[in-house]
């Protein structure tokens, strides 16, 4: 599996370049054209990245999440969800770096092969940073009204996180 993911990118580039060359496309000029467009895309998403990083970091640094979770500690204990994993589950939809950092802490403290380590691994892999991706993709093309997108995205995350809990308890 690991080798497969290493082969994909070089193989993909070879196919694209070779096919373009064969079809007598001026591949170098095409690349430059596309790259220029990439610069414009990055330029367009710059403000929304600044905005999101700003808000997310204020939220994370205030440590509100931990206080919030302490409040619900008894309930989580009652339904048998380990407390250590909750900050990660809550942060996963808003920040990939934050949840990755928590997973790293869990690996150091409990080891990657512990129940918590496996649970964290499944959680990290099974959803994406929904809030961030939505903000980025929509703002890149100037969409203001996102309608039901966030609701559906977060619902999917909730299902994914729940299944991750269930399946890790069942399998390991």
């Amino acid at each position: 599996m690991n080798i497969l993911s290493k082969i994909v990118i070089p193989l993909f580039i070879i196919i694209v370049v070779f096919y373009g060359f064969k079809k007598k496309v001026n591949i170098y000029d095409s690349f430059l054209e596309g790259a220029k467009e990439g610069l414009i895309i990055t330029f367009n998403i710059f403000p929304s990245i600044i905005a999101m990083v700003f808000a997310i970091n204020i939220f994370l640094d205030s440590n509100f999440i931990n206080a919030f979770l302490t409040f619900f500690q008894k309930i989580f204990h009652f339904i048998n969800i380990p407390m250590e994993i909750m900050p990660m589950a809550l942060l996963r939809p808003i920040s990939g770096t934050a949840s990755l950092a928590i997973m790293n802490d869990i690996f150091i403290k409990y080891g990657p092969d512990s129940y918590l380590g496996r649970l964290a691994s499944v959680l990290q892999g099974c959803t994406d940073t929904t809030v961030y991706v939505l903000a980025l993709y929509f703002s890149s093309i100037g969409i203001k009204k996102t309608r039901y997108a966030l609701g559906v995205g977060l619902f999917a995350d909730l299902v994914g996180i729940t299944v991750a809990f269930l399946i890790t308890s069942l399998l390991f």
């Binding site: 373009g20 496309v25 596309g34 990055t42 700003f54 999917a156």
Partner: protein, 192 residues
């Protein structure tokens, strides 16, 4: 919606640090935030530029169109509103494929291009279209088969079997994608 999230993240963060007397932390955070954002931009900029360049070659040579036609029968079910042979299908498929293989960095430029193509066929330019939302649900539910970062980190921490989490991950990701797509489908049906 992003409007509300932005508001709540900032308000909760600042008010909570007022209440807990963590003013130093929040000041630090605000002042160093810009650098973090710039670092993020600088780390994705070369990747986006490189991949939009490569994809332009695929576009100009007709390869992308071929790919779009190939995946059209599958994607047509999920995206009935995208016209036949539209380039968006090719970008959507590339984005999903890159996500599946855990190539998150390559997936983003494809995703941004897909959104651009979808915007071209969007009637109300400031409002998210149905295919856009379906695409984002599929994208954020994250159909990851090979979570490269997680595997690398597990290995680095001395896991005896780093890849044992792949199967449970695939099942969880499948359930979340399916749930998202079903909910999206019912909302679309109801809206018609």
């Amino acid at each position: 919606m992003v409007n509300y999230i932005w508001f709540f993240l900032i308000i909760i963060g600042i008010i909570y640090s007022f209440l807990t007397g963590n003013l130093d932390v929040i000041n630090d955070s605000i002042l160093t935030n810009g650098t973090k954002a710039l670092e993020l931009i600088l780390s994705i900029l070369p990747i986006i530029v490189l991949w939009t360049g490569i994809m332009r070659i695929a576009e100009d040579s007709g390869l992308l169109k071929k790919f779009a036609n190939l995946v059209e029968p599958f994607l047509k079910i999920l995206f009935p509103d995208i016209p036949k042979g539209n380039k968006a299908l090719g970008f959507i498929a590339s984005n999903i494929a890159a996500n599946m293989l855990g190539l998150g960095s390559a997936a983003t430029p494809f995703g941004l291009k897909a959104m651009q193509e979808l915007q071209n066929i969007n009637e109300k330019k400031d409002t998210a279209s149905r295919p856009m939302i379906t695409f984002l649900v599929l994208n954020t539910a994250g159909v990851t088969i090979v979570p490269t970062t997680v595997l690398a980190l597990r290995l680095a921490h001395g896991s005896t079997n780093p890849s044992e989490i792949i199967m449970p991950g695939v099942i969880a990701t499948f359930c979340s994608s399916l749930a998202g797509l079903l909910l999206d489908y019912f909302i679309r049906k109801k809206g018609k």
